[in-house]
Symmetry: C2
Subunit: 188 residues, 2 copies
């Protein structure tokens, strides 16, 4: 997606060979016009597939999730990283965080995932793919179907895309960064 790549080129920062800092427009400060345009782009890429729900994970997935939900005109559900005290029955999954080198639990209330749901998983970043696989597990616990994963920025030099494809998930990333070597952001 041209607009997103322009934002990354202009405002993104490579930190070492592994971290792409995009917090001036994607996940700390957020440009609402870029966000809504990305939602529209997901709509174009997953048109006519009967998607009736967007699923993401708090916190940094919520903005892009809302943009997608608005474009598709369907509800957004975001998985929580803590089980709230007021929540009744829920589906849970474990996600391994490479950043923190430990598992965490994500959950969604059972009432918000139904067997008839055709779900688009959305997230701001795809790195190792574990968060998306955790979300997929929640969807399957409900007997619902994952139609695909819509990602803003994919780190193409990590294993996430391969892992998702091996698990039968169609991946659409709006920008794929294949290298951050020498502080230069290289797109695929």
């Amino acid at each position: 997606m041209k607009l997103l790549k322009e934002y990354i080129e202009k405002n993104g920062k490579a930190i070492g060979t592994n971290i792409l800092k995009v917090d001036s427009f994607l996940n700390h400060q957020i440009d609402p016009n870029l966000m809504m345009a990305m939602g529209e782009e997901f709509k174009r890429r997953f048109e006519d597939q009967g998607i009736n729900k967007i699923l993401t994970i708090e916190a940094s997935g919520i903005a892009i999730g809302l943009a997608a939900a608005y474009a598709f005109n369907v509800p957004l559900v975001f998985a929580k990283k803590k089980i709230p005290s007021t929540m009744g029955d829920f589906y849970t999954a474990n996600v391994f965080s490479f950043t923190k080198n430990k598992d965490y639990t994500i959950c969604v209330a059972k009432e918000f995932l139904k067997p008839t749901d055709r779900v688009l998983i959305v997230d701001d970043f795809l790195a190792m793919g574990n968060a998306v696989l955790g979300l997929k597990s929640l969807v399957e616990s409900a007997g619902a179907e994952v139609i695909g994963a819509g990602i803003a920025v994919e780190k193409g030099f990590q294993q996430g895309e391969k892992l998702l494809i091996d698990n039968g998930v169609k991946v659409e990333a709006l920008a794929v960064v294949d290298s951050l070597e020498n502080g230069v952001i290289k797109f695929r």
Copy 2:
């Protein structure tokens, strides 16, 4: 705001006299059309005041924050509850959580709050008012100005509104619930 009150009447649940559950449309599952309409309503209520930034707090403020930012056509910044390892200089504030009976720290990177900023603070709920005061403290640390607080649902039977007014904050709540006694949701 009529539309929000209708959603609360139809889908909200009083749990005891203190908890209003709205997680089917506001903060777990999210109705994107309601969200965007609330953003527009904040725009109407704070029109012509030169607001150039929306500030909220992760996670449940992000959706309504994005809706407001889109309506105002200005950036959204969300305060984080953990200091990210890749973040440089930041402003911090302590917020006392009555739910958890302890303080937590919120932070915003210094580059995203400037002395020229005219900030609308946005959040999904107003109860005791501590989160908004914490956000106000971040804004003031940057030498910027708080123009007001836009709240989706205010618990009118708690002290938040009074505390904010006493601290010079103009509050606009889209729905004020004055009582949850006997399982009945009463609006002001």
